[in-house]
Symmetry: C7
Subunit: 94 residues, 7 copies
């Protein structure tokens, strides 16, 4: 991918329903913050962001749970991605 997120941002691609089922997580539609599952496709360099040292804890290929309303959606080569800050990622699913 040739999109390089700045600072502590990452680019993620949402997982389809069958992928979620395989990893055993169901995210209920009535959830308060509407979390979703996604795969990390690009990771920013981290470093000093807003005057705070940020170490990137996720890497490309990680499957993660994130808050649905976080970030900015873009479409690239016909695929939808979301650019968001690492802080909006709740957990890695291994």
């Amino acid at each position: 991918m040739n999109i390089k997120p700045l600072g502590d941002r990452v680019v993620i691609k949402k997982l389809e329903a069958e992928e979620k089922t395989k990893s055993g997580i169901v995210l209920p539609s009535q959830a308060k913050e509407q979390p979703q599952m996604a795969e990390i496709v690009a990771v920013g360099p981290g470093g000093v962001v807003d005057g705070k040292e940020i170490k990137m804890e996720v890497k490309v290929g990680d499957k993660v749970i994130f808050s649905k309303y976080a970030g900015t959606e873009i479409k690239y080569d016909g695929v939808e991605y979301t650019i968001l800050r690492q802080n909006d990622i709740l957990a890695i699913v291994e």
Copy 2:
């Protein structure tokens, strides 16, 4: 559990009514912040979160009181969990 929370987040599983009774705590339904009891099932690594050094004070198996409206609910293998920050945990019940 294969959910690995990031930063100062933890994964908890709410305790059922009989478990609460056994540990002697009743959380009144008319409480202002509606605290609940839960068991810790996964703990993030802590470290520098939002530029502040966070030391994790809870561990897997701890029974805790937390504010009901904190965090994000997920369902995994048919069980409901909540991902929240350690700061939203009020106390450990020993």
Copy 3:
């Protein structure tokens, strides 16, 4: 008590009317912030909370004045307690 508050939190038990009278403080019902008197029953370890070093200045047995709307109420073995941060305690009554 087997409730161990985290960080800079304390557990308090509100004082009854006769106890307040004995210590000579009357908290007027029309007060703007509705302060109340309570006794400290458990004290968190303090330490670094939200990136700030907090030293606990209250101890179990202290009678304190606190702001009525602060904290979270719980019921334990039939008794009501409040979990709140040390910063919500205004003064110790000696």
Copy 4:
């Protein structure tokens, strides 16, 4: 007085009209923030409050001007006092 304010808090007792007249200050009733005069009756230890080092600049007996809506009112042995932070005191009247 056996009320010991915590952190950077102080306990003050409002001055009566004749006392204000003697010290030569009239606080107009239509003032925007409604300042008032009071005498300091107890002073907290200062130290690190909310992660900031606070040095107490007022002492018991000081006559001060403070913002009327600051702090919490309590009644002790039939006398009304206010507990407020040193930062809500505007000036010392000498």
Copy 5:
């Protein structure tokens, strides 16, 4: 003057119309923040205020422009003064 402002506060006395004319500044009544001219009559010690080191840059006798809605008005020996923070002073008129 026997009013000693605390921290980074100063006491100012508003200038009358003729004084403003002499110094050549007219403050338009329709201005957005309604600045006014005043003379400094007392200066706090500065030092650490809200955890930040503040150096006082104004001195008694300085004529200054300040934002009209800043500070607290008091009346002393029949004269009106305003207590405000140095940060609410925009400029010194020399």
Copy 6:
């Protein structure tokens, strides 16, 4: 260009539709934050901005994705530009 942005600001020029198509990114009109693509035409010096050390990570010529509502629009020699902070740039498209 003779516009020199201050601090951590940059000047950008929005890319036309054909340019976006070439780089393969389509930004959907119904997007929540309405990101857009632009080219960097001037970069501020960075340094200490609002008390935080900011290192500039973009350079003139970079194609970037930014949030549509960020910044201030100006017109220079008949061309529209936007001045915004580096923090409002989400990613570089390479």
Copy 7:
């Protein structure tokens, strides 16, 4: 000019239409933040402002773009000026 701005403030004088045309910048009236052009006529000393070290990056004579709604307008010897913080200046036009 005998107006000496405090801290990180500067005094600016708005440029007339013909001056803007000469420097080639047109600021559209429908712009979101309504930027304007001005010339710097006085510069504060900078230094520690609100606990942050501020280095002044503009000097007397600089032509700058600033946000129209920032600052406080004053009239001096019949001329209108604006006092604003350096942070409200977007760019220098050279």
